[in-house]
């Protein structure tokens, strides 16, 4: 059960940090937003397009 939620939890946390970081700071915060929200897109591409 723990393993089931490990990756979704990490990805969700990164997205949340990214969404807020871009709002409270420019520069570093924007970069954090790109990373935080880039992760779900990259993971979908990795597993979805893998043969």
């Amino acid at each position: 059960m723990k393993g089931l939620w490990l990756w979704p939890g990490i990805i969700g946390l990164l997205s949340a940090i990214g969404l807020l970081a871009g709002l409270v700071s420019d520069g570093f915060g924007d970069a954090a937003a790109w990373v935080g929200l880039g992760v779900p897109v990259a993971i979908t591409a990795w597993f979805g397009l893998r043969r």
Partner: protein
Amino acid sequence: MSPTSLRRWSWTHKWSSLVCTVFMLLLCITGLPLIFSHEIDHLTGNEVEMPQLPADTPHVSLDRIVAAAEAHHPDLVPLYLFAGDDEPDLWTVKMDTRVDTDERQARFAYVDARSGDILGEPNFGEGFMSVMYRLHVDLYAGLPGKLFLGAMGILLLVALVSGVVLYAPFMRKLDFGTVRRQRRHTRWLDLHNLIGIVTLVWALVVGFTGVVNTWADLILQAWQRDQVAVLQSGGAQTLLAADSRLAAPADGSLQAALDRVMAAAPGMKADMIAFPGTLRATPEHFAVMLLGDTPLTSRMTRAVLVDRDSGEVLEAAGRPWYVTAFMLSEPLHFGDYGGMPLKILWGLLDLLTILVLGSGLYLWWKKRSANAATQPFASGVRT
């Protein structure tokens, strides 16, 4: 999870999704160009051409700006003046037949802040982007349309939460990221689960803030009532007394009123000015929305009221929590606070959401026809 609760959650997920899916597809498709509306307007030449004038050309009085707009739309009265986002020498004047209309037929005028010349009108009411905007915001039905889309958004949130609950029983025997490609059905089921779970937080935030945005009119009306109530009870904080000579005394003009606001709130920038009687002001006061200069405060306006006749500048208590929530909901829904990379990610996440919606619809359809095929005599009976 017991079979009963699994069945209940499945029922919740199926029906909350089915009811809202068509509208969510519409919102995702129309939202995609809206993410890039600034760039699209720029490319299609839908922006104002600012005349070349020497840098630091002083601005004319705001009353001349308003007079120019009134001459341009002779039968209309001014409602709001908006400062240009990245064009400091531009005012956009919003006008309508009365100050208290629902503003659906409002007209606009662009006015050069340096010369008082009319620079044209934004064509908000026509063209491709306008259609996208209305379909996304109110389905051409005004407040009822907004509230309807808000209700669909609440169903989306229910679908997201029930989807998370169902993720566990479906994924118990599979590693994270598994996509079983042998059969089309399992491939789309696994992709639905994978994309749904990795985009979950973004979808919850964009969905929830979208719902909050549908309440914008109601929130602003409540704020206005609050402010008027505070003013009437004498509870407002005076930032600049009527007899203060920190700025020139009021003479009924807009410019004098704004000068007094800027004297009362140094270091801030006027983002929007609302005329007395409009949704964002009170019957007797101009409201001036001020912006701060940090990334967060530049998103959060501070509303200051100025009495048109006496020149007294007031702030009716702090911004209530529900207005703060509304103001934060705008950037978190639009994705316009982190430059072009964030907009592109917003667009990609929007496309992924379309995949989740589409695969969900496909899975429901396949299951439905499979049930019909295996139980030909069970139609009408609960299966």
